[in-house]
C-alpha cells in the first residue's frame, strides 16, 4: 500500500518527514529510516515500551499514546520516551501487610496528589488513574486492582505527574497484595496439588507414557469433551 497511499507530513523530533497515511507512529518512524532499539517491544499494545508524546504543528496541546497502536496524522510532531527514571519501592511480599498504611509507607508521596488528573488524561489505556490513586490513598486495594488491571506499565503517568508520583508502580503493588492476600483461596487448586504430591495420578500417567501411538490415538479420539459453553460460573 505504501506507494499508492497519500503522503502526509509528520515531524520526528522536529525533522519533517513524508510518510504514507495509515501507518502507525512506529511504522512511520521505520518508514523514515529509523531502526528502533529502544522504544519498541511487542508491537501489539501490550508491553508499554513505545510510549510516545506528540502534538500538532498548530496545536501545542500534548497528547500521549503507544507508537505501535496510534495511527499517524498530518502535522503530528512526535518524540518517543526511551526511558523514564520512575521510582519503585522494593519490598518482601511475604512480609508485607495488605493495608493502607503499608502502601503509604512504601509510597509516602501518594498523599501529595492534588487531583490535577493529568495521569488519567495521559493514560493510553484510558484507565481512571487518578481515581485508583485515590483508592490507594484510602487503602481500598481491591478497587485499585480492579481499576488498574489493564495497565501496560508504559510509565507515561509517572513521567507527567507534577508531584513525581508513580501510579503504575503503586497499582502493581496493590494488585500483588490483592492476588496474594485478599483474593479468595481456590480450594480445588490446593487439593489437586496435594493429590499430585501424594502420587494419585502417577500410575495413570505412567500407563499413558508407555502406551504405543495407536493406543494413545484411540484414547485421544475417544475422550469425552466437556461442553465449552456450559459455564455457569457467573
Amino acid at each position: 500500500m505504501a506507494e499508492q497511499a497519500r503522503l502526509i507530513d509528520i515531524y520526528i523530533m522536529g525533522r519533517r518527514c513524508q510518510v504514507p497515511e495509515g501507518l502507525t507512529i512506529l511504522t512511520a518512524l521505520e518508514y523514515s529510516g529509523y531502526r528502533m532499539v529502544r522504544g519498541c517491544g511487542c508491537r501489539a499494545g501490550f508491553c508499554g515500551a513505545c510510549a510516545t508524546i506528540f502534538n500538532f504543528l498548530h496545536d501545542p496541546q500534548l497528547r500521549y499514546d503507544l507508537a505501535c497502536q496510534k495511527t499517524v496524522e498530518p502535522d503530528m510532531c512526535l518524540v518517543q520516551i526511551p526511558y523514564f527514571p520512575a521510582r519503585k519501592a522494593t519490598y518482601d511480599l511475604e512480609k508485607t501487610k495488605a493495608d493502607a498504611e503499608k502502601i503509604k509507607t512504601l509510597y509516602p508521596d501518594i498523599v501529595k496528589c492534588f487531583g490535577c488528573n493529568t495521569c488519567t488524561k495521559t493514560c493510553p489505556q484510558e484507565l481512571e488513574v487518578m481515581w485508583f490513586m485515590t483508592d490507594a490513598l484510602r487503602g481500598d486495594i481491591k478497587a485499585v486492582a480492579e481499576k488498574s488491571f489493564d495497565c501496560v506499565m508504559c510509565g507515561l503517568c509517572a513521567a507527567r505527574c507534577p508531584q513525581g508520583l508513580v501510579p503504575y508502580n503503586v497499582a502493581l503493588l496493590c494488585r500483588r497484595l490483592y492476588g496474594r492476600y485478599l483474593s479468595p483461596n481456590s480450594a480445588h487448586l490446593d487439593q489437586r496439588i496435594a493429590e499430585i504430591e501424594s502420587g494419585k495420578f502417577d500410575a495413570e500417567i505412567e500407563e499413558l507414557k508407555k502406551a504405543d501411538k495407536k493406543t494413545l490415538r484411540q484414547k485421544y479420539t475417544g475422550r469425552d469433551i466437556e461442553p465449552a459453553h456450559d459455564q455457569a460460573w457467573e
Binding site: C42, F46, F149, P184, K209, R223, E226, A228
Partner: protein, 541 residues
C-alpha cells in the same frame, strides 16, 4: 470501520447467526486432520525448508530463514577477545527475560546462585506479555493431569517427548499456585474457584486467565519480583556468542551493548537460555504476533556451542491473526475469542471448521477456505481472510461478556472504529510460535554441560503443535526447573580454562562446507524494518 463491501458481507454473517447458534460442526477424525495438514499447512511446503549442512543437526530440514542463521558466521573475532578477563563473574547467567527467564532467575537465586540476567530489550519485553488467553493446569475436580497429558500429546500429534509432558502436567497446578503467591490475580468466582475456559484441542476447561491480559499479568508480577529480590540485570545487551572451557563446558558468554556497541565478557558457571521465539524471521513471509526481538538468537548460539535441536521443521501459525485494518496486520486475535464462543465464518456466512480444533488444524482449514475454495474475503489492501464472528459471544453468554472478558481486544479494535461486540473480525493465520527448539531433559539441561534452556527456545514438550495455554505454563514449569538445576550444577562444577576455540572451529567447518562466504552474520539480534530505498548511502560515524 469496514469499507462498504465488507459491511455488506457482514449483513450475511448476521443473517446466518441464528442458524449457526444451533449448528454443531463435528470434530475431524485423525485421518481427516492428517489430510488437511498435508494439503494446506505451511510446514508441508517442501520448498520452504532446507537441510542443514553443518553442525550437530546436519541433514535435518528447517525453514530456509532459520537455516541461514544456524549456518551463519560468528559476529566476533576470537583473536580480539580475551575470554579469561571478564567484566562480570557469576554463577548463573540467564539470557533473555520473558516468563521463563524470570522464573529461572528467581529459582536460581533462591538456590544460592549469584545470578545475572542479560536481555536484548527491556526486562520482560518478550512474547510472554502478548499471551492473552491463559495458562493450562488440570485443577478442577472433573479434570486430571492424565487428561491434560492426553490432550497435549494429541495436539502434538503424539510426537511430544513423554517425560517432558509428564512434568508439564504434573507441575502445572503448583506453577499456578506459585504465581498466585507472588501476587498474580487469576480470574475467580467469589468462592475462590478458578474461572476456567476451554481452548482449541483441550477436552476439559482448564485455561486460567487474567482477563485477556494473562501473560502481561504474569510478566509484570515476575519482573517486579526480580527487582524486589535485587537480581542483577543488563538491558539492551543480547548475547552474541558462548564461551566454553577446555573441558567443553559452558564458561560464559559475550554480550553486545546495543547502545555503546561495546562487547561485554561474562564468566558464568552455567547459562540458562530463555531467549524465546522466531517470529521476526517472518518464515514464508508470514506476518507475526511475536515481539520485536524474536529472532531465534538462542537457537543459533546454542547450536554453535554444540547443543542439539529438535522439531525445527515445525512452526505454529496462529489461526487468527488480524488482517484488517492494516495497522494491526498479523497481530494476535486471542484464541480466547473462540474459546468464548466465536465461530469462524466464510464469505457465505457459513462455518467451515469446528472452532476449537487444535491450532494447526484450524490454520489449515482457513488457508483452504481462502486459497482453494475462494470463500475468503479480500481486504482493500489485497490480503485474504475469513470472519471471526465475535458478537456471537454476547449472543451465547449474554451482553457484556465481551467487554468483561476481552478488554484488550475491544480496546485494540475500538482504535480503528470497529466495535467487536457488534461486528465480526477479519482474520488469517499468522506466524506465532516455534514448536521445536533446543533439546532439554526434565531439568532443562541440554547435551552441553552447563547449558540449560527453558521456554519457547526449547523443543519436545509440544511435539509438532502446541496447545493453547501450554506455552505460558511451560515457561513457569521449565523455567523454575532449569533455575534450580543450574544453581545446583554451578555449585559442583569444576571449571576449566575459558576459550573461544569452538568459534574458530565453527568458522573452519563453515569454510569447509563452502558456506562461510554465503551465510549472514548471526545471531540476527533485531529485524531491520528501516526503509532504505531512497538510495542514500549510510556512513559509519
Amino acid at each position: 470501520m469496514y469499507p462498504a463491501y465488507l459491511e455488506e458481507n457482514i449483513h450475511l454473517v448476521e443473517d446466518k447467526r441464528v442458524r449457526r447458534l444451533i449448528e454443531v460442526i463435528p470434530r475431524l477424525g485423525e485421518d481427516e486432520k492428517e489430510a488437511l495438514l498435508r494439503g494446506y499447512h505451511p510446514d508441508y511446503i517442501k520448498s520452504s525448508m532446507r537441510k542443514l549442512k553443518v553442525g550437530i543437526n546436519k541433514g535435518d530440514a528447517t525453514p530456509v530463514e532459520l537455516a541461514d542463521l544456524l549456518e551463519g558466521n560468528s559476529r566476533i573475532d576470537p583473536d580480539k577477545i580475551d575470554p579469561s578477563s571478564p567484566d562480570y563473574n557469576v554463577d548463573v547467567l540467564v539470557i533473555g527475560c520473558g516468563g521463563a527467564g524470570a522464573s529461572a532467575a528467581l529459582l536460581a537465586q533462591e538456590n544460592g546462585a549469584r545470578v545475572l540476567i542479560a536481555t536484548k530489550l527491556r526486562l520482560g519485553d518478550a512474547n510472554t506479555v502478548g499471551a492473552q488467553a491463559g495458562t493450562q493446569a488440570a485443577d478442577r475436580p472433573n479434570d486430571s493431569p492424565a487428561q491434560h497429558y492426553l490432550d497435549t500429546m494429541g495436539g502434538g500429534h503424539f510426537e511430544n517427548i513423554p517425560e517432558l509432558v509428564e512434568v508439564l502436567v504434573k507441575d502445572a497446578p503448583s506453577a499456578v499456585k506459585w504465581l498466585e503467591k507472588l501476587g498474580v490475580n487469576w480470574d475467580k468466582a467469589p468462592d475462590g474457584s478458578m474461572h476456567e475456559l476451554s481452548g482449541g484441542g483441550t477436552s476439559i476447561r482448564r485455561l486460567h486467565s487474567a482477563r485477556d491480559y494473562t501473560g502481561l499479568e504474569e510478566m509484570r508480577v515476575l519482573r517486579d519480583e526480580l527487582k524486589n529480590r535485587k537480581i542483577d540485570y543488563i538491558e539492551f545487551a543480547p548475547a552474541i556468542e558462548r564461551i566454553l572451557d577446555d573441558k567443553g563446558q559452558i564458561a560464559g558468554a559475550i554480550l553486545l551493548n546495543l547502545e555503546t556497541e561495546e562487547l561485554i565478557v561474562v564468566r558464568a558457571r552455567a547459562i540458562i537460555m530463555t531467549t524465546g521465539g522466531i517470529g521476526r524471521l517472518h518464515i514464508q513471509d508470514f506476518p507475526t504476533t511475536n515481539h520485536y526481538g524474536a529472532t531465534a538468537d538462542g537457537l543459533v548460539l546454542a547450536y554453535r556451542a554444540g547443543a542439539k535441536l529438535i522439531f525445527i521443521d515445525t512452526m505454529q501459525y496462529h489461526p487468527t491473526g488480524a488482517v484488517f485494518p492494516l495497522q494491526i496486520l498479523g497481530q494476535l486475535v486471542t484464541e480466547k475469542v473462540r474459546t468464548l464462543g466465536a465461530q469462524l465464518v466464510n464469505a457465505n456466512g457459513e462455518q467451515f471448521i469446528m472452532p476449537l480444533e487444535p491450532r494447526d488444524i484450524v490454520t489449515s482449514a482457513i488457508i483452504r477456505e481462502c486459497r482453494e475454495r475462494h470463500l475468503g474475503l479480500k481486504t482493500p489492501h489485497g490480503e485474504s481472510g475469513v470472519w471471526l464472528d465475535a458478537p456471537m459471544i454476547d449472543v451465547i453468554r449474554g451482553a457484556g461478556t465481551i467487554a468483561r472478558e476481552l478488554p484488550a481486544m475491544v480496546r485494540q479494535y475500538r482504535r480503528f472504529d470497529i466495535d467487536i461486540t457488534r461486528e465480526p473480525i477479519l482474520v488469517y493465520p499468522t506466524l506465532h510460535y516455534q514448536n521445536g527448539g533446543i533439546k532439554i531433559d526434565t531439568e532443562g539441561a541440554t547435551n552441553v554441560p552447563g547449558l540449560f534452556a527453558a521456554g519457547e527456545c526449547t523443543g519436545g514438550v509440544h511435539g509438532r503443535n502446541r496447545l493453547i495455554g501450554n506455552s505460558t505454563l511451560e515457561l513457569f514449569v521449565f523455567g523454575r526447573r532449569a533455575g534450580r538445576a543450574a544453581a545446583r550444577y554451578a555449585k559442583d562444577v569444576k571449571r576449566g580454562n575459558p576459550t573461544l576455540e569452538h568459534v574458530r572451529h565453527w568458522q573452519k567447518e563453515l569454510k569447509h562446507a563452502g558456506l562461510a562466504g554465503e551465510r549472514p552474520l548471526s545471531p540476527k539480534i533485531l529485524p531491520n524494518y528501516a526503509r532504505t530505498t531512497r538510495g542514500h548511502t549510510k556512513l559509519e560515524i
